[in-house]
């Protein structure tokens, strides 16, 4: 598994575009800035929805209404965030693929996606009777709470990728070395 991820990252690293991005004067900086701006935009909207479900924000606005109306702009922001995130990975694939923080971030993103799917499913089956209640039904509250936790950790772990703690180059102890998939970091950052 670690070997396969490593081989894939090395293959990406052989692309001229990956190197061009990594060495660019402006593009990398613009992509990184856009990633952070869309993160604030889409997570800002997501957190409003989650907090409304938990009865902690905008109590006067019907919950389902809020979720439906913020859905599209949130997804637009998400798409740009995802594309810029993939480009950032593409620019520095070998180091990032062997970063413990990045790996934890990806696992949490998968968890957040499953949680979002379940949340969406509960919302469509829950009807609209609860719309004006202060709090959403328990299943939706759990989903909203998990979504808040997952995304806050994703942001923190994403930030920590920039630091060299647990970097393979520093020879981290087990189990961190295996979890990071240390094979050969090659590039720095």
């Amino acid at each position: 598994m670690n070997q396969a991820i490593y081989n894939f990252a090395v293959w990406l690293d052989t692309h001229g575009w990956s190197t061009a991005l990594h060495e660019s004067f402006y593009l990398y900086n613009w992509i990184e800035t856009t990633h952070v701006l869309t993160l604030m935009f889409s997570l800002g909207l997501l957190f409003l929805i989650d907090l409304r479900m938990l009865g902690l924000a905008l109590p006067g606005i019907p919950a389902g209404d809020l979720a439906r109306r913020l859905h599209l702009p949130m997804l637009l922001g998400f798409s740009i965030m995802l594309i810029t995130g993939l480009l950032l990975f593409y620019a520095i694939p070998v180091r990032t693929a062997q970063s413990l923080w990045f790996r934890m971030k990806v696992v949490l993103m998968v968890a957040a996606a499953i949680n979002a799917w379940c949340f969406h499913h509960s919302m469509t089956t829950a009807g609209t009777g609860w719309d004006t209640a202060r709090k959403a039904p328990p299943a939706l509250q759990w989903g909203a709470g998990l979504s808040l936790c997952f995304w806050m950790l994703i942001v923190v772990f994403g930030r920590l990728i920039a630091y060299d703690w647990f970097d393979c180059r520093t020879g981290p102890p087990e189990p961190f070395a295996t979890l990071s998939g240390c094979i050969n970091e090659q590039t720095h950052y």
Binding site: E23, N29, E32, A57, P59, T170, Y189
Partner: protein, 146 residues
Amino acid sequence: MALLKASLWLALPLVAFVSWQARGHHAFSAEFDKEAPVSLEGAVTKVEWINPHAWIHLAVIDDDGTSVAWMVEGGTPNTLLRSGIHKNSLPIGSEIKVRGYQAKDKTCVPACKANGRDLTFADGRKVFMGSSGTGAPRDGADPRER
């Protein structure tokens, strides 16, 4: 009101995290030791011209004649270009002098690591190579520093 309260509760751990980070926004005090200034003279062995931080590798001959590998972190390629360092100005083998601060991690594996403040070319031209506002000491290396 509920929104305000909720945002406060959400913001608290984030603020705590950010203020902890602010002691070392990437990367100075998280990775480098302001009590360990270094002045390195040697030949360039490799330049990693990469975002978000470029790395200049050099071989430094120490007092007893052994060659020690150092890697020095600079700003982004853009920052370096603006201060007058570009790909062609650092050919492999050229002699340079770098002042900066050593990393907290002093194990020197695979090379001794430092954060570069300024770089002096063989012809005596001296340029700033770090990025400011990241917690590096105000040592006069940055001409824009006030």
